[in-house]
Symmetry: C2
Subunit: 178 residues, 2 copies
């Protein structure tokens, strides 16, 4: 095994998309920012993420059957910061969120969210890996969030993807031809 | 459940870091580009990723005990393309890779790689979720890869993170004060 500092250093520079995960158990809502969300399979529609057992949201996530995964774009940076800030009431601004009929909190500023039923919880070190099936979604529409710029976290810094950040593989070919 | 097209549309715009995963089984090397790699826990050092069972690398990944996860930066775009291109011999350029003493292929152009022992393989739809422990690493050094720019995949496009792509949360505060 490598030591924790080396491991953290390696992954600190690995960029990741950003999601706000919400859930509810017994009327207690939670919201946390996660950079570990990814698609596993499209048919059936499965996604995964991991959360530290030391997270303030861990108890609710252990009890909840479902979660809402908000896939954040750059204009949702405030939601990303909200779910990543300790010691605040993430639900204090009651105009920003509502409950779905099924009880989960949802932040409608996010252009895209997926409600997922948890299928597997796998204990892994000090964390839990969750695998869930998407059972309901709101998708970004073309013209509104459809063209939204991506939000990325790397080296403790937020980044915004745009036309300016595109890396063109054709440059590789030009280089090798040169 | 939501349909596969909606699910793919949702995740297509979710940005992700890029890794090249290599492994070997019975002398057969594989290399594939994955955007699902993330850290699960630092102590113990655990990571996860998922791979479609229909991937050409699936058989070797089922048999291999260990993998090498190369965390790619923007100057490794050629490695990302190599592992994402179908129908080519990804090992034809023998100057680009070597075998570790333990047998796994490694591409030394990647500034950071982690060798990991697979702990769990979880069947999930048409994919397998792998959880592994990092047992050896090469880390980017300051001045060489330490300051390397991040490589991100979103909407079927490669992006390069840089000082220009930084999104400053202080702008949020200024906006809300305005």
């Amino acid at each position: 095994m490598i030591n924790a500092d080396d491991f953290k250093a390696a992954f600190r520079s690995h960029p990741a998309g950003v999601a706000l995960i919400t859930a509810d158990a017994h009327g207690v809502p939670i919201a946390l920012t996660a950079s570990s969300v990814s698609a596993v399979s499209a048919d059936p529609p499965l996604l995964m993420f991991s959360v530290s057992v030391h997270s303030s949201s861990a108890v609710v996530l252990r009890l909840a059957d479902t979660v809402v995964v908000h896939l954040l774009s750059a204009d949702n940076l405030d939601l990303a910061v909200l779910g990543a800030t300790s010691g605040i009431d993430r639900f204090s601004d009651t105009e920003r969120w509502r409950r779905l009929e099924t009880g989960e909190p949802v932040f409608d500023d996010a252009h895209t969210w997926l409600r997922a039923r948890i299928l597997h919880r796998i204990d892994a070190g000090g964390s839990t890996v969750f695998v869930g099936t998407a059972i309901e979604s709101r998708l970004a529409r073309e013209g509104s969030g459809g063209g939204a710029e991506g939000l990325v976290y790397q080296n403790r810094t937020w980044h915004r993807l745009s036309a300016e950040s595109v890396a063109d593989p054709a440059d590789l070919i030009r280089e090798s031809v040169r």
